[in-house]
């Protein structure tokens, strides 16, 4: 397959820009490709398929039939585990999968928003895990301390605020290291993940701190006393944290599209030098966006402690959500609405994956593989475009501008306005979105290639 020639070495910032500026088509395309590739793996791991394949040349039909069964089985299990269980006899049983999906989605959505917000300011927050853990520590500690001491309407908001604040602090620390010391946020956030994780282990392993009294196991006391109330009754795991997650989606949308702060965040992310000349304090915005990003990830930690695991938590409280959040943010093209949808999808994967293992004997890891493949495909937009024959957004924009310019010059022909300089603009102007440097590099490649 011939793939259109690329800039030889796009920086991660370029790639990020391309991903975050691409439309929903790219995400959906990547999802479809990942599901197809996932099907192959399902086929390979399915016992029936392997058995049939052993006598493939004798009766090839059996193999294909087994393949079909495996795939239909796997994906119907996935669907039944995540959206709607049509085999259940009661209505409750039928919609339980959907409720599981929603419950899973809440922390994924807020953490995804956190990572996406940093993306918009040109920062790569890999520290979702650490920020989540800090949020979990703060809110968990407070929840345990307030158990039976304060009513829920006092303790819950306090725990939420404490968790978000702890996450914000952890994020702001990385932001400050970048703004003041020039430390790259990718490195500092990864390192801060370790610090947070081992801090939690220490707290869990030390008597008198977070460790449950009367045991030497690294587990805390229950946090149920300050937990989010159930949203649809106690049969379903969905809690009010989901509503808070939706509210955060709305807030982030407003922040990015309608607020001065978001305008400045985006300006710093797109061109920090121009932002500085425009009087925007780049350092303060870097710290600020990392604090907000960390607060949202910290909130995901709160959601875990006060919404999912209420019987006392261990060092696995983050449940990989801190890293899944990066995937969610990428799949959602860093837009709040996109993150909402991607978070729901990943929640569904999580809910349906277990069902797939139980029902069809397909390893739950397949779900993780599919999630990883989604990111892989998203990271290579030209590949997805090639497969689905999507047009290149830059080329589309250029073509549109050319048409407009042509129309403009045509309409001016009769009015005598063609004496005005600068119009019409020829195509070389429209190729401008590619920076001269990139263009230069591709010319060099062209020249080398032609020799």
């Amino acid at each position: 397959m011939k793939v259109e020639s690329r800039t030889p070495d796009p920086t991660w910032r370029d790639t990020l820009a391309e991903i975050t500026s691409s439309g929903s088509a790219l995400g959906i395309g990547a999802l479809i490709l990942a599901l197809l590739a996932g099907s192959l793996m399902i086929a390979f791991t399915n016992a029936g398929v392997r058995t049939a394949a052993s006598y493939f040349f004798a009766r090839p039909g059996d193999t294909f039939a087994a393949l079909g069964r495996a795939m239909v089985g796997a994906y119907s299990q996935l669907l039944r585990g995540s959206i709607f269980n049509w085999q259940a006899t009661t209505f409750t049983g039928q919609i339980t999968p959907l409720m599981n999906t929603l419950a899973n989605a809440a922390p994924l959505i807020v953490a995804g928003l956190g990572v996406a917000l940093a993306f918009k300011a040109g920062l790569f927050n890999i520290g979702g895990r650490g920020q989540m853990i800090m949020g979990a520590i703060a809110s968990g500690w407070l929840a345990i301390a307030l158990t039976n001491r304060a009513p829920l309407w006092v303790s819950l908001p306090l725990c939420v605020i404490a968790g978000a604040a702890a996450g914000a602090l952890w994020g702001a620390l990385a932001g400050w290291l970048k703004a003041a010391m020039g430390a790259h946020e990718v490195i500092s956030t990864i390192m801060l993940n370790f610090v947070a994780f081992y801090l939690l282990q220490f707290l869990l392993g030390t008597r008198g701190l977070l460790q449950r009294p009367g045991t030497s196991n690294p587990i805390t006391l229950p946090t149920a006393g300050s937990a989010f109330p159930h949203l649809f009754g106690s049969t379903f795991p969905v809690r009010w944290s989901l509503i808070l997650a939706f509210a955060m989606v709305a807030y982030c949308w407003w922040l990015l599209n309608r607020s001065v702060l978001g305008f400045h965040f985006r300006a710093v992310g797109e061109n920090a030098r121009a932002a500085r000349v425009a009087g925007i304090n780049v350092a303060r915005n870097t710290i600020g966006v990392m604090a907000l990003s960390g607060a949202l990830c910290g909130l995901a930690g709160v959601f875990q402690v006060l919404g999912v695991i209420l019987t006392g938590f261990t060092d696995g409280i983050d449940a990989g959500i801190g890293f899944d959040a990066i995937t969610v943010a990428l799949l959602g093209a860093a837009s709040p609405i996109g993150v909402l949808l991607a978070g729901l999808l990943f929640g569904a994967f999580k809910a349906g994956g277990g069902n797939m293992q139980a029902g069809e004997g397909i390893p739950i890891e397949i779900v993780t593989v599919i999630q990883s493949l989604i990111v892989l495909f998203i990271a290579a937009p030209p590949l997805v475009r090639k497969v689905f024959h999507f047009p290149d957004p830059r080329k589309v924009a250029n073509a549109r501008l050319e048409r407009q310019a042509a129309g403009l010059s045509a309409s001016q022909g009769g009015t005598g306005l063609d004496l005005m300089p600068g119009v019409p603009q020829p195509p070389e102007v429209f190729l401008a979105p590619v920076s001269p440097l990139q263009e230069g590099a591709s010319h060099i490649i062209d020249q080398i290639g032609d020799n």
């Binding site: 121009a274 000349v277 425009a278 979105p433």
Partner: protein, 513 residues
């Protein structure tokens, strides 16, 4: 080798970028292609260089039709191109850059020594001063361009295309390039020189072809006057000299005293600079690029936090303040590098027009952006400042250089101003836009605002200045009246004091007589 383009037509959709263009370049000839930004010069050259395929017409070399499928074919046929943006690998040495894509091997092993020798030979032959072992990133821009030329020559190019070569050069480097072009011509090379700078055209061209809106509108003689050439290029009479009344001084002023700006190594790049600009006058800061003007301009917006000394605007001390505080004090600032410092390419025109006004009342309503006001404002400014665009929601990256610059000027002049600083306000801008921008700068001055213009173009300095301050190695050589002869300014830019420069020029004139 004789190059001939016959009826070349290149269309992009409905747009005809080149409309039946005929052009010949003879050996030992400098053929100038003159046209505004966007007239179709670069498209034509990209067709010639194999980057685009023509829709109609043919290319002939020595009377034979040739087809170029890519730059490789064009190079093999003896056509070289010196791009406006250099195609060099900065960390590589000169020889490595010259060898890139044209590597000589000996027994299968890359023979860099051969290329080194070749670079030395060519340097000798054409008068370059190139060290084949120097790293390209350490070389000044003018020398980097020589590497580009040597790259073409090393591949035995007989026809060399220069695409806006002087856009990045200082006046001195430009003169050096002109000398090189004459030498190339004397060696029998054919040269295509693309530019929109009239002075350069008249200086070296043997023939001039003017392109407008993708069509050849005529040939011009090198003896034509600037205004004739400009009129042919733009399609109407252009005022090259801005009309302006004598300066009408006001009391408000920018007073800079003993300004010192250290670089990252602690060396002073601006050393004890003092000057005053009264309201209603334009002070032009002239000098060869890299003598501290850039840093001085940045300091006038608080972009040099380590600057010491005094910057007083209307009696208020601003040194040590943040860019935000400078902006709030009423400073309008046009940065030298508009794409890096002035605009955000992926933002819309409307967003860019309010980039530095995110803390101001009508743009912000109840903590949120007032989108209605923003869009009305943008629409009005786009109209007032004649920014050619399809709409205020277009991305700025799609604007041509002149329109992008007009956008910045629009933004900076729409604020309540107490000082206006413009660095290289017309660099890479077409003639029509230059006229417009100069007019707006003079209007700003006439409104009683102190104006500082930093420019390496003496034409621009002469057009705008009421007084000229010449900088050399971070210091002020002198502040002289605007009617100081160009030759004197040129000598001052090399660090010679105004009195000595005037004497030297006077003697020269006397000797000529």
């Amino acid at each position: 080798m004789r190059l001939e383009l016959r009826n070349i037509t290149k269309r992009f959709g409905a747009l005809v970028a080149n409309d039946h263009i005929n052009l010949t370049v003879n050996p030992g000839e400098i053929h100038c292609l003159l046209g505004e930004n966007g007239a179709g010069k670069s498209t034509l050259m990209n067709v010639l260089y194999g980057l685009y395929q023509p829709d109609e017409g043919e290319i002939l070399l020595d009377g034979k039709v040739v087809h170029f499928r890519g730059p490789g074919d064009a190079m093999a046929a003896g056509i070289g191109m010196v791009h406006q943006h250099f195609m060099l690998v900065p960390p590589f040495s000169v020889a490595e850059n010259v060898a890139l894509g044209n590597e000589k091997t000996k027994a299968g092993i890359f023979d860099i020594r051969w290329t080194r020798k070749r670079v030395k030979e060519l340097s000798k032959q054409f008068g370059f001063h190139l060290d084949p072992n120097a790293n390209v990133e350490d070389l000044p821009v003018g020398v980097q361009q020589q590497v580009e030329i040597v790259k073409a020559l090393a591949r035995n190019a007989d026809i060399i295309i220069f695409d806006e070569p002087t856009a990045v050069l200082t006046p001195q480097e430009t003169n050096e390039l002109m000398a090189i072009m004459r030498k190339l011509k004397a060696e029998g090379k054919g040269i295509v020189f693309i530019t929109h700078k009239l002075r350069e055209v008249r200086e070296v061209a043997d023939r001039i072809t003017v392109i407008r809106h993708g069509k050849i509108v005529g040939q011009a003689s090198p003896t034509a006057t600037d205004s004739e050439l400009a009129a042919a290029m733009v399609g109407r009479a252009v005022q090259l000299q801005v009309e302006k009344q004598p300066a009408n001084h006001k009391d408000n002023a920018l007073v800079v005293k003993d300004l010192i700006i250290p670089n990252s190594l602690g060396q002073a790049v601006v050393d004890k600079v003092s000057f005053t600009v009264q309201g209603g006058e334009v002070l032009a800061i002239a000098g060869v690029q890299g003598n501290g003007q850039t840093e001085l301009a940045e300091a006038l917006l608080g972009l040099q936090p380590k600057a010491t000394g005094s910057i007083k605007l209307d009696g208020r001390e601003l040194i040590g303040r943040s860019p935000r505080q400078f902006l709030d004090a009423g400073v309008g600032f046009v940065p030298e590098d508009r794409n890096a410092d002035g605009l955000i390419g992926n933002f819309t025109i409307a967003e860019n027009l309010m980039l530095n006004r995110g803390n101001e009342k009508p743009f912000v309503k109840r903590g949120g952006l007032h989108l209605g006001y923003r869009d009305d404002f943008a629409a009005a400014k786009v109209k007032e400042f004649d920014v050619r665009t399809q709409g205020i929601r277009n991305k700025v990256a799609n604007l041509s250089g002149g329109n992008a610059q007009k956008l910045i000027i629009a933004r900076e002049l729409s604020k309540p101003l107490r000082l206006f600083v413009a660095a290289q306000p017309t660099r890479g801008v077409d003639v029509g836009s230059i006229e417009f921008i100069h007019k707006r700068i003079v209007e700003t001055r006439d409104a009683g605002i102190p104006v500082v213009v930093i420019s390496t173009e003496l034409d621009e300095v002469a057009a705008l200045a009421d007084r000229v301050m010449v900088m050399y190695r971070g210091g002020v050589v002198g502040i002289v009246p605007a009617d100081t002869p160009r030759e004197v300014l040129g000598l001052m830019m090399a660090g010679i004091s105004p009195e000595k420069a005037a004497d030297a020029v006077g003697q020269m004139m006397g000797a000529q007589r």
